[in-house]
């Protein structure tokens, strides 16, 4: 068994289609408001009047890219640290999941996670989040999001193998700095990706979507 499973995400080819988000909702039978995987748009730039041609505007460093994020099954999971009942569990292969039999729905993990991965399931009164499709993993299959991605931007595997293959980058805007929880995540940055914490753009999604 792998020591630490992780996700790989290629932001350079993500077209913001959200099939990963919806495939996860389908596979896990989630209600519409629980999105264990979600896709954010980050972008910026503006427009300037053409210096010599009245009526024309020129785009000035207009950029955008999408980031698909679920749970990073972190090596230093904040959710596990703060969980009062021990419901938040990390397996030997690194997958972090909620044991809902022991969860009391206190929502501390929701507060602690820098990635907003744990989400409160108001229907059941417990927390819920991406569990790496562990039932599929245990059968030798792939997580639903990985299988579904039409651009083949998602992959998974042992984090050391992913790092050897794709590099060590684990954070770009709008994700938080990777040093907080050491996410088991490798990202290929979009050509316009900006470093976490120092971006010049903003999350573009409508507030109601977030």
């Amino acid at each position: 068994m792998a020591k630490q499973l992780g996700f790989y995400f290629d932001s350079s080819i993500c077209v913001n289609c959200k099939v990963c988000q919806v495939a996860c909702q389908d596979k896990n039978d989630l209600p519409p408001h629980l999105r264990w995987r979600r896709v954010l748009q980050y972008g910026g730039g503006d427009w300037l009047p053409h210096p010599s041609r009245p009526g024309l505007f020129i785009p000035n460093q207009v950029f955008s890219y999408a980031v698909s994020i679920s749970c990073n099954h972190c090596e230093k999971p904040a959710c596990v640290e703060v969980c009062p009942t021990g419901a938040m569990t990390k397996r030997s292969d690194g997958i972090v999941f909620v044991d809902q039999n022991n969860c009391i729905g206190c929502r501390y993990c929701e507060w602690a996670c820098p990635y907003s991965a744990p989400q409160y399931n108001d229907i059941e009164g417990v927390m819920s989040k991406c569990n790496f499709c562990m039932d599929l993993i245990d059968k030798g299959e792939k997580p639903a999001c990985v299988s579904a991605c039409v651009m083949r931007a998602l992959d998974f595997g042992d984090i050391e193998e992913l790092r050897a293959r794709y590099g060590n980058l684990a954070a770009i805007e709008p994700l938080p700095d990777a040093s907080i929880t050491s996410p088991a995540l490798v990202i290929t940055p979009h050509r316009h990706a900006q470093a976490s914490g120092s971006g010049t753009g903003r999350v573009l999604n409508l507030p109601e979507e977030l």
Partner: protein, 887 residues
Amino acid sequence: MSEKNFLARALNETVLTRRSFLKWSAALGGTAALAGGLSYGLKSMEAAAQEDESEGEWISAACWHNCGGRCPNYALVKDGVVLRQKSDDTHEDSPDFPQQRGCARGRSQRKQVFGADRLKYPMKRKHWEPGGGRKELRGQDEWVRISWDEALDIVASEIKRIKEKYGNEAILCPGGAEIQRTLTLYGGYVSTYGTTSGGTLHSSKTSCLGFGAYNSVMINDRMDHRNVDLFVHWGANGASSSGGNPVYNYLQNKKQGARVIFIDPFYTDTAQVLADEWIPIRPATDHAMVLGMAYTLITEDDPVNNPLIDWDFLNRCTIGFDADHMPEGADPKDNFKDYVLGTYDGVPKTPEWASEICGVDPDRIRSLAIEIARTRNVALCMASATARVMNADSWPQMFFTFGAMTGHIGRPGSFTGDSYYHQNWSGLRCGPPIIKPGSSGVPSVGMNPLEGENVDVWTVLPKVPGIRLNDTQMWDAVVTGKYLAGKDDLRDINIQLIYHGGGATLQTRDGMTRGIEAHRKVEFVVSHSQILTTNSKYADIVLPVTTEWERYGTITAANREIGFVWASQITEPLYEAKDDIWIAAEIGKRLGLDPDVINPIPLKQQIFNQIAGAAILKGDVPYSKSEYEPLVTITEEDIKEMGVEGQPQQGRIPLKELKKRGYYQVPRYPGDNYEYVALMDFREDPEANPLPTDSGKIEIYCKKLADVVESRGWSTIKPYPAYNPAQEGYEATFADWKNKIKGEFPLQNYNIHYPRRSHSVFDNIQQLRRAFPHEFFMNPIDAEARGIKHGDIVQITSKHGTVIRPVFVTSRIMPGVVTLPHGAWVEIDEATGVDKAGADNILCGPVSTGQGVSGWNSCIVEVKKYEGPIQLEPDYKWPQRIPLKEA
């Protein structure tokens, strides 16, 4: 709240309150599921494990919508319940031999089939009576459940009564192939025709190029895309319009080092991945830009020192480029080159001239022309969005003229064409299909008596025969009682019955405000649907129909390489939903017709016929010489088990395996026998391989096109591709063009495709509404000038109607341009007349130009912050449309 929480930071940046953030996790109402379909509880780990241990059966499940992908889909069915779906995993995945992965819409298919908003019973509008009753209440009335017998009796008796009182000419049936069989046998009905998705690619491409919209012959095979050095995507946004593999395929072109340019008003999701350069352009002005490019080439070309024009191709393969290459009988002054130079009209179509119209820097217009001319292998790929523009009849001709000038036609690594539709799959519908289904065997019931002769409506002269309404004129025809049948030929018409047997006509055709008026005028409206769609919302009688998941199976046409998908039955019909063809036969019975003529072949037999007749290119020799052979191996046992009639046969894949897999795909590799270069034979020898145009060549001068347009009576064009400003295009935003003083509607609106929907299908799906809020997009300069901020509710108004939406302020769209995505189901607040849903066709008007192009991407509006009484909730919070109160 921890500052480390990135969403909190994000929300702070968008000025959102903490309270709103916490509401993000709150429960939603109204998402109850029908028994047997969904469960919104989360399974514990043990329960999930147990379930999968005794797994149900994976069945190929239909995804049958009119989109750019058309992918296989799979449902896990256990005890009649769909547990979940999955993406294609029938073979290993690679760029050469990709899995047929679907999009978020297809992945939500089970939510559509099993949603709580499925129509369960036939319904009658509460205040309807024969004759119409309180017609003004259509769209806002209550619903009463009735029995099938009562429903069918009402429909049949109204058809009979209206036919006897007014004639068959009073019956309008814009959609529904099944009921159209019944109506044809009963004396006919008024049919409609329109350019719909293809715009003027439908209406004008045949005359000057020989092939209609999406035609397979004009685009090189996807393997050849890897030979393209410069790929120009013009107005194309496959990430939204063609879910599934298309954009993944275009990525392979980029990966081999191509330079990719996107020309579009919006820096789209597709552009953000593929574009090396984005050239923002105003909607409906593409023709002007290409003229500026043509001017550059004409004036700077020197065959010896600076060859920019492929004179050899122009001279051999086209007519009308210059005065020396005009067809017989044409006025030599009507040549394209002199038009561009302004020799006779005094207006040289310089890059500066073009820039004033299209908004692109003239230096870039000029340098792009030269770049395209000088690059060896170029793909000029136009999306139909650019042709869904008023007065754009000459635009396809213009685009292909430029392709001809630069010689990017008929060579490996080069092509000029239109793309993205599902059967194209980014160029895959090119040349003969590798796999094609057989025919169902259902015989035609004959010509609709009211249609006159069987013609191609886009090329017929002297006029479109019979009584047929163009989409852009049909609602006006109903309301005013008059329609233009051809030039100077205004006729009376008295529509009193609208039968929506299928399609989404009221929702998707231009001029919805007028359309609603039309629906409130006639005596009777009937609609088939699975959910309370727009057509049904405004009807008197609504008949609940089955989806493809509730029928024995379906064969859906797909891309060239898989040909079709065979999907099988997932569940029994829900509640009292019936098949459209059953309804057609039942109504036929009541009208004294023979139901076996209407529905002659059982669906199972039809499916078998299509499977038995399915063929595959042998592939042993290059495609042009290759023959077809049967795809499917069928045994006597298969035939007996299926309970059909047929003969055993030998093919490549056993029937049962095909049924399970859903499709067959040939593994491909570069250089295989399926590669195709469009029009290569034509280029090599146009005399031996003529195009199906009158001259056999590309007609840069096309008298036929000009004649056809003139004959329709709405506008006129030149036989060469002159620029015709769209009636509601950029020029119309000005009260004073010369001094650039804006008028009442200063912004251009167009209808970007949107990943929540396939046209209008799936708009009701909760998880898709959660993923895609149906925003209205606006540039910060335009927003700030109006005191509008990101996330505000804004009101968008055109000459034809008004809507409200949350606004997405972004620099990704150019100033002066806004976009309201296509396909949201109208929801008019009757007190104020404002549409809350943001339906594109409330803003788009019934405007007829040229051959009757539906010009959705030419629309002008004003926008302001909404100050009215409506409290607009986010789309995902809207209750589902559940018209009957009981359980």
